[in-house]
């Protein structure tokens, strides 16, 4: 039985906190910096960065304010940061729509299934590609990397998926995106950085390749795997186009397409005739705002806790280059 104490062998890059730590470490003072010009610069800089924060956050706050406001105030153009005519009626309205919840549940199911499949596929292939002695490794890497720069395009993909009979099934969303080459390369680079001695020792102890992967490599890569899960989960959670293209049954759509159909009701590419009907846009202003808030909420709630994993994931990818 091989046991590995992950705290002792974890290479530096494993700890996502550390990578972020390094990123956030203030640069050591470059000597005495008290010239007048530099002090002015510091003030201007603080103002500019505050501006960045305000501009980034404003749309969120605006949507929240609109979602809690009375329709009449919105149409009058009086809602910016503070809700006017505060009420939560529209929230109740949207949340009582069973289609909204069906689609929300679909999003959760699609994300979980797709992420699980993507993780298995990516981990297996990345592990194979990390073995330098493997014959044909370069060809395998080439097969994956080439698809980053050239792809079949929308039409052949659509023709393929429909002829495989995957329309109106979860597989049209899950399978065509089962491996992201970027994530694959990040994992491969990480596996390459693991000490070989551990795997050799495990092999001597009688573990086969599958055992080594499951019992040694994966436990050593927990932090990285968390990062990859997040990368995949966010991309599947946010995706809408595959469902939009391959699904025509309302009850199968993810919530992103629900939102899309709601906003496209007025100014969408599909509804050519409805463009000029500005009234329709306004009658649903609160409804849209509420749906946007409810769709964005999970991401906003999780974001503060997982942000550093994303950052470290990007940095791992960058090390590989």
């Amino acid at each position: 039985m091989v046991t590995v104490d992950s705290s002792t062998v974890e290479p530096e890059t494993v700890e996502p906190g550390k990578a972020v730590e390094r990123l956030n470490r203030p640069r050591r003072r470059r000597g005495i910096q008290t010239t007048r010009g530099y002090r002015v610069f510091q003030v201007v800089n603080a103002v500019v960065l505050t501006g960045v924060v305000v501009v980034t956050l404003y749309p969120f706050l605006n949507i929240v304010a609109r979602s809690l406001s009375d329709e009449a105030y919105i149409i009058a153009g009086e809602v910016s940061l503070v809700p006017r005519g505060f009420n939560i009626d529209t929230y109740q309205l949207v949340m009582s729509d069973s289609l909204f919840w069906t689609n929300y549940r679909n999003t959760v199911v699609y994300t979980v299934v797709a992420t699980a499949i993507a993780m298995v596929m990516t981990t297996c292939f990345a592990y194979v590609l990390s073995k330098h002695h493997l014959k044909g490794r370069t060809v395998l890497i080439g097969i994956a990397v080439f698809t980053m720069f050239f792809n079949g395009g929308l039409i052949p993909n659509y023709v393929l998926i429909s002829s495989l009979g995957m329309t109106n099934t979860i597989w049209a969303i899950v399978l065509p995106n089962a491996i992201s080459v970027f994530n694959l390369l990040v994992m491969k680079a990480f596996f390459e950085s693991l000490p070989v001695e551990l795997e050799e020792a495990a092999a001597v102890d009688g573990l086969n390749t599958y055992g080594i992967l499951l019992r040694i490599v994966i436990p050593l890569s927990k932090a990285l795997i968390a990062t990859m899960v997040l990368f995949y989960a966010v991309s599947f959670w946010n995706s809408w186009f595959a469902a939009f293209l391959y699904m025509d049954r309302q009850d199968l759509l993810p919530v992103t397409v629900y939102l899309r159909n709601l906003i496209a009701g007025a100014v969408g590419a599909e509804n050519v005739g409805a463009v000029s009907e500005a009234n329709e846009v306004q009658a649903e202003a609160t409804l849209k705002a509420v749906t946007i808030v409810l769709t964005t909420l999970p991401i906003l709630l999780v974001y503060p806790f997982v942000q550093r994993y994303f950052v470290s994931g990007v940095m791992l990818g960058a090390v590989k280059g």
Partner: protein, 330 residues
């Protein structure tokens, strides 16, 4: 061993045909070592089977599927089409005035996005790098990364709310004495809207790699520059920027590679027939060709053209950068 097939899951690059005797010896040796490799590493190869199937079916098959650009295609028929029609569809789009219109729009939107969205993360990273208060820096970073994680549908929805006749932008317009403008229905505004929402969503996240590169610059270089009498500005110019140059070049190449594929999904969500004159790009045009006019072969021909240009762009950007600055993707 009779047929010259390559056994085993990993596809093997075909041996180039050389002089007969030498080639045969090489092939035999090659094959024997393949057998050894398979015997030793079959468990590893077995792990690669499903991923390889994925790449073959969902990545390489569609590439082959592009032959329908040169064949008559019937929905429901073979995915490779029915019979050859040669360059009919290529000629068709080359003589299609709408195609050239959307081609121009693609170039303009791509160029604008590149010019605006490439340098801004560098500027923001440099500004963040000068922040002395660690808390403030971390807060600004966290906030500015946030939009990156939103679905493009949410971003489009927010843009629509902000730009609607009762939205914030029009409130400002009215406060300064103007009349409300239905921005999303005005072609002259589309490019501005597209690029600024792109800035909002990508600039913060784009700083990560630069900030990482900035921490790797040796402090002694700044020390030396200061002894040579360089002020802050000159230190930035002569030490900081050269220090992050490899990162800049790499990201520039990657940006150029996605130049042709300008935000298809966002445009699809934000445009409408009124804004087609500036908003319609190659990818949205071929989308409509396929799914509204059911002209799949024509759309595939346009798509292939776009993909080939994209590939050519990234290859040449990479080659140029390798020659001139010595940085390349591979």
């Amino acid at each position: 061993m009779s047929a010259p097939t390559t056994t085993g899951p990993p596809p093997v690059a075909a041996e180039p045909a050389g002089p007969a005797p030498g080639a045969r010896r090489r092939t035999r040796k090659h094959r024997r070592s393949w057998r050894q490799a398979l015997r030793r590493d079959w468990q590893l190869y077995s792990l690669a089977i499903l991923p390889l199937l994925f790449f073959l079916v969902f990545r390489y098959l569609p590439m082959l599927g592009n032959v329908i650009a040169f064949r008559r295609f019937q929905p429901g028929g073979s995915i490779f089409g029915e019979y050859w029609v040669g360059l009919r569809y290529v000629k068709m789009f080359l003589t299609d005035p709408t195609f050239w219109e959307v081609f121009t729009n693609t170039l303009i939107l791509g160029t604008l996005t590149l010019i605006v969205c490439f340098p801004l993360p560098i500027v923001l990273a440099l500004l963040l790098n000068e922040v002395r208060t660690r808390r403030l820096k971390r807060f600004v970073q966290s906030v500015s990364y946030l939009p990156h994680f939103l679905s493009i549908v949410i971003v489009a929805a927010m843009v629509m709310q902000l730009l609607s006749t009762d939205g914030t932008v029009n409130q400002i317009v009215q406060a300064t004495g103007g009349d409300p403008v239905p921005f999303l229905q005005r072609p002259e505004w589309f490019r501005t809207i597209y690029v600024s929402s792109e800035v909002w969503q990508t600039v913060g996240w784009g700083t990560i790699l630069y900030l990482a590169a900035l921490t790797t610059i040796d402090d002694n270089l700044y020390e030396a520059a200061r002894i040579d009498g360089a002020n802050r500005w000159r230190q930035t110019w002569h030490v900081t920027l050269p220090g992050i140059r490899p990162t800049m070049v790499t990201l520039l190449i990657l940006n150029i590679g996605t130049f042709m594929a300008v935000g298809f999904e966002k445009i699809l969500l934000l445009y409408n027939p009124l804004t087609y004159p500036t908003a319609d790009v190659i990818s949205t045009y071929l989308f409509r060709m396929a799914f509204q006019s059911s002209n799949f072969s024509y759309a595939a021909a346009i798509g292939l053209f776009e993909a080939v240009i994209g590939l050519a762009l990234i290859l040449s950007a990479n080659a140029i950068s390798r020659r001139t600055v010595g940085t390349s993707l591979w």
